[in-house]
């Protein structure tokens, strides 16, 4: 019997296909698997911003999709909206908008957010309607499942799943600083 499996490792590691903020060669890469409709991810959103502000160039932050569509009926289209905005170079502004408006994620609002961000909203609307990014979103999801994602949000620090309390800023920062100090980039 397998009672203590090796800690799950992020597979694939962060790469050029990911949505990332911060330098590629930062000593720490933080990857979040998130769901735009998940209230816990909503709580994590300002904490991640805080962590990014404090760590500056020493941190690369990557966001991958993990929509729990059976529990969250708007999560899939919200992810489509962010990916569609990404096609127009605005993934992060849409990502932020969605987490700041978790109570209004229906298609009409998604298109309105695209307009507010100055995007071609018709393109965004069409891509949402066609679920143009479903394959990518599903690939993100399955990479999470195989990497040991067990709920949302799940964070990985340099490919190792962070099982501590992300909602405790001190503990979260300490884990990131430790990864930075160890310099053990595992990729």
């Amino acid at each position: 019997m397998k009672t203590s499996p090796e800690k799950p490792r992020l597979t694939p590691p962060a790469n050029e296909d990911d949505h990332a903020q911060g330098p590629t060669d930062a000593p720490v890469t933080l990857v979040e698997y998130g769901d735009y409709e998940c209230p816990h991810c909503g709580r994590a959103y300002p904490i991640v911003k805080d962590v990014q502000a404090r760590m500056g160039d020493r941190l690369r932050f990557v966001y991958r999709n993990f929509p729990l569509t059976e529990s969250h009926p708007f999560a899939e289209h919200a992810a489509e909206a962010a990916e569609a905005a990404g096609d127009q170079g605005a993934f992060w502004p849409m990502h932020d908008t969605l987490f700041e408006h978790q109570d209004a994620l229906d298609d009409q609002h998604l298109v309105r957010y695209a307009e507010a961000l100055g995007l071609d909203a018709r393109d965004v609307a069409r891509e949402i309607e066609e679920e143009a990014h479903l394959q990518r979103i599903r690939a993100d999801f399955m990479s999470g499942v195989r990497s040991g994602v067990n709920g949302t949000p799940t964070f990985f620090i340099n490919r190792v799943r962070f099982d501590g309390a992300w909602d405790n800023l001190g503990a979260f920062l300490a884990a990131l600083e430790e990864a930075a100090a160890s310099g053990a980039r595992t990729e």
Binding site: M1, K2, T3, P5, P8, L68, T69, E70, S71, F141, M142, V145, R146, S147, G148, V149, N150, G151, D163
Partner: protein
């Protein structure tokens, strides 16, 4: 209430989670209620891999995430022709309310009478809590346990171990 659970086979008598039945063991058969008027027997699924997910209780936060996660991954399990069943000591009406609230598309079995009898047979009952532990079993199409795992009670074990185990049941993978 009449006896809803009939545990066949010979499970281990030691009920601590450290004594969960190991790979290579024949999975004890059982019959449990899946709804107020329907029962499910493990032997009904001979010919298909079966995933048994024991969990402590409906409604508790960690379990809910775990069951919601498995609900989302059902299509992947089905690629391996595998049937997933959740098992806890909760009764059928509790399971029904929980499954409806979470929109679950797989059966939750009530290990209710005798309480925890199936969990005991699989060696994953926690007498100190009066609940099943958080334990996973992957059983092959001939009823042999091929992988088992007991998670710390507060940790959602995710699904990667299940998928790895199903993958090793070659050549069972069904092309998508």
């Amino acid at each position: 209430m009449s006896s809803a659970a009939r545990v066949h086979g010979t499970g281990g008598t030691d009920t601590s989670p450290e004594h969960a039945l190991a790979a290579g063991t024949a999975a004890p058969d059982f019959t449990l209620h899946s709804t107020p008027d329907q029962s499910v027997s493990l032997s009904d699924f001979r010919g298909h891999p079966v995933i048994l997910a024991f969990y402590p209780a409906d409604w508790s936060p960690v379990c809910s995430d775990q069951m919601a996660l498995y609900n989302e991954i059902l299509p992947e399990f089905r690629r391996y022709d595998a049937e997933l069943m959740g098992i806890s000591v909760d009764g059928v009406w509790c399971h029904r309310a929980f499954a409806e609230a979470r929109n679950l598309h797989f059966p939750l079995l009530a290990d209710f009478e005798p309480k925890g009898g199936v969990a005991q047979a699989y060696g994953v009952y926690r007498p100190e809590d009066g609940t099943a532990g958080r334990a996973l079993f992957v059983i092959d199409d001939e009823g042999i346990i091929r992988w088992s795992y007991v998670s710390p009670i507060g940790v959602n074990p995710g699904a990667d171990g299940i998928l790895d185990a199903l993958e090793h049941l070659q050549p069972r993978e069904v092309a998508r």
